[in-house]
């Protein structure tokens, strides 16, 4: 088991949200979209040149800016 930032996993890979490195604001904001520790996510796409990352969580697709995606730490199975 190892933990890496969301930006470092490959497109199509599944992982579990481990922790969010950021203040209460960021945690709440992502939490409101269902991105909380313990949830399984799939990385769908990552735009070129540090562009946004698109993930699938539950039945929702969410696009996150690169900066934000780098603060989400995930655990690979």
């Amino acid at each position: 088991m190892k933990t890496v930032p969301l930006i470092n996993i490959r497109t199509g890979e599944k992982a579990i949200v481990y922790e969010i490195i950021g203040g209460r604001g960021l945690v709440n904001r992502l939490g409101a979209l269902g991105i909380i520790a313990g949830k399984e996510i799939t990385k769908l796409s990552a735009m070129m040149m540090q562009g946004p990352v698109v993930i699938c969580i539950g039945n929702t697709q969410i696009a996150l800016g690169y900066g934000m995606a780098s603060k989400i730490i995930v655990r690979k199975e």
Partner: protein, 576 residues
């Protein structure tokens, strides 16, 4: 009167339900943040008349943007809350529901998009959910009108029933225990059967592919532009011009003879004659140029633009475009989602500026609003530029567009470096693709065209009237000496252009139309229409900017616009 609030996450269909229950025309689209302000309407519950309020979507009761702030303020005023959820995304949507349950107000839970749960292999036990939460739960497919009668019935009952909540308040306040609670609820009420990847999802993924997404993006934009042109030109060539020249012109000719060309009324209503005939583009009378510009030149492009925009909106493509554009927009101090206000601004700057409420920080809103008013020409203005400049060749129109795009880009770049504050990252929910409902689509185009007619026509006619009076009383003779420096020396335009520049404060389309009779060279036409687009917002935009940014920021934005128009006009004058 009792107030009923429609509350829920963005893009769950609150506005559809609102529209169905009240019969009020509201714009609905397939992306989060369509409704940024509340809309009120009335409906009957039994014998009682109640107020229904469509609240902007919110993910949480701790506001993260202006639209959510509006939502939270509204919440305090409501008597009954109708919490609308996306049934295919129950877990996430329950987060807001549980927060709402913390407020001691009667609540009805509406699981919308119910029809989609079936083919997504999702089963929800609504009876059990009702028992766990202690509030009524109903299911709807609002876009088809299913379940709305049930909603009305339950709303009527709720006035008398008292609700007994099953969940402890303490659990609901803390996010961590709240999510644990949601997990428990989901485990009890929802079962998901496995299903395969669907075709629409595959296409969806292709659109956000790092390479193909970009290719499709460019392709779709190009295609959209062509469709707008095709429909606009088609309407003009086959419908409107034949009408104006074969039916309307002979009528005006008769009126002209009755009124007698020298009279003052003739001057106001019909305007000047050229070779003893009315010239729709140059006569400047209320009934001649006023009506023709509005209905013969602008309206067709308003129709075609909103038709295309509405398709892109309802399919759900715009958020995908936001993802692709995110990189570029960051250079301008914005994130990708700001592309949506920019798009709406291409119809009319006013809704575009209102849509900036989906942006989180003040800095972003200032930048976005300034960029919309400086570099995003509205459809009416574009129609005139295409009509007037385009008559000399498409490449000249391209010069105007390219210039405006560069101004937009450079201004944004500079603002990003100079405006204080922070710009947060992009976070958006990407909606599923939907096949647009054709009747909804036409309804929406009609609301928007109707809105344009109601709001624009009076100003256009006023503009034409003012022009007429300015010319009749030769007012510009008095002003021209003071403005000569800028207009002739920097911009290289004839002194008489001061009139269109002044009229630009009222309506920019009328202002560009006025460049027509001035016998400008093509270079002067390009410069004239470009600076009219950049220089100062029209009166409607001006008012909305004050409302959204306050007077101080409005002055800042205006100074930027005036400065930019001086520079751009000067540069074009030198290089063209």
């Amino acid at each position: 009167m009792k107030k009923i609030l429609l509350v829920g996450n963005p893009n769950v269909g609150k506005s559809v339900i609102f529209s169905r229950l009240t019969g009020i025309k509201v714009i609905v689209s397939n992306y989060p943040g369509t409704t940024v302000d509340f809309t009120k309407g009335y409906m009957k519950l039994g014998e009682e008349k109640v107020e229904l309020i469509d609240v902007p979507g919110a993910y949480t009761l701790e506001p993260t943007c202006k639209a959510e702030e509006v939502a939270c303020e509204m919440l305090e005023q409501g008597d009954i809350i109708v919490n609308v959820l996306d049934a295919t995304n129950l877990e996430r949507h329950l987060n807001l529901t549980l927060q709402l349950l913390g407020k001691s107000k009667p609540i009805i839970i509406v699981l919308n998009l119910w029809d989609e749960t079936r083919h997504r292999g999702i089963q929800i036990d609504t009876k059990k959910l009702e028992a766990i939460l202690g509030v009524p739960v109903i299911t709807t497919s609002a876009i088809r009108g299913e379940g709305l009668n049930d909603l009305k019935k339950r709303l009527n009952d709720i006035k008398t029933e008292s609700q007994s909540r099953q969940l402890e308040n303490q659990l609901l306040i803390n996010p961590e225990t709240r999510w644990q609670e949601i997990g428990k609820i989901i485990a009890q009420v929802q079962t998901i059967t496995h299903r395969h990847h669907k075709l629409d999802e595959r296409i969806g993924e292709l659109m956000i592919h790092p390479f193909w997404g970009l290719v499709f993006g460019v392709g779709i934009m190009y295609l959209s532009f062509q469709v707008v042109r095709f429909i606009g030109e088609g309407l003009i060539n086959y419908l409107l011009d034949p009408f104006f020249y074969k039916v309307y012109a002979p009528l005006l000719d008769k009126l002209s003879i009755i009124l007698q060309p020298e009279s003052f009324t003739h001057k106001i209503l019909i305007g000047n004659l050229f070779d003893n005939a009315i010239d729709f583009k140059q006569s400047m009378g209320l009934l001649s140029t006023g009506i023709y510009v509005e209905f013969g030149m602008i309206l067709p492009y308003i129709i075609s633009f909103y038709f295309m925009l509405s398709i892109l909106e309802d399919v759900g493509y715009l958020p995908r475009l936001a993802i692709i554009a995110d990189n570029v927009m960051h250079k301008l101090g914005l994130h990708g989602y700001a592309i949506i206000p920019m798009f709406l601004g291409m119809g009319c700057n006013v809704p575009g500026i209102l849509a900036t409420r989906i942006l989180e920080s003040k800095r972003e809103r200032f930048i976005a609003i300034t960029l919309i008013s400086i570099g995003v020409p509205c459809a009416a203005l574009q129609a005139m530029i295409i009509g007037l400049v385009g008559a000399h060749g498409v490449k000249y129109v391209m010069i105007v567009y390219l210039t405006l795009f560069l101004v937009w880009l450079i201004t944004g770049f500079i603002l990003n470096r100079t405006v204080k504050g922070f710009s947060p990252d992009l976070v958006i929910e990407v909606p599923r693709y939907r096949f647009p409902s054709i009747s909804q689509l036409f309804k929406k185009v009609w609301y928007r065209v109707y809105g344009f007619l109601i709001e624009a026509v009076p100003y256009v006619l006023l503009g034409v009237l003012v022009v007429n009076l300015l010319y009749t009383f030769r007012v510009f003779n008095y002003i021209a000496p003071y403005t000569r420096g800028v207009i002739t020396k920097i911009w290289g335009l004839p002194e008489s252009t001061i009139v269109p520049v002044l009229i630009g404060f009222i309506r920019k389309d009328v202002a560009v139309a006025m460049l027509g009779p001035l016998n400008l060279t093509i270079k002067q036409l390009i410069i004239g229409s470009t600076i009219l687009a950049i220089f100062f917002p029209c009166i409607a935009t001006f008012t909305i900017i004050i409302k959204e940014l306050g007077v101080k920021n409005m002055i800042k934005a205006s100074l930027i616009m005036i400065g930019a128009s001086l520079i751009v006009g000067g540069v074009l004058n030198i290089i063209l």
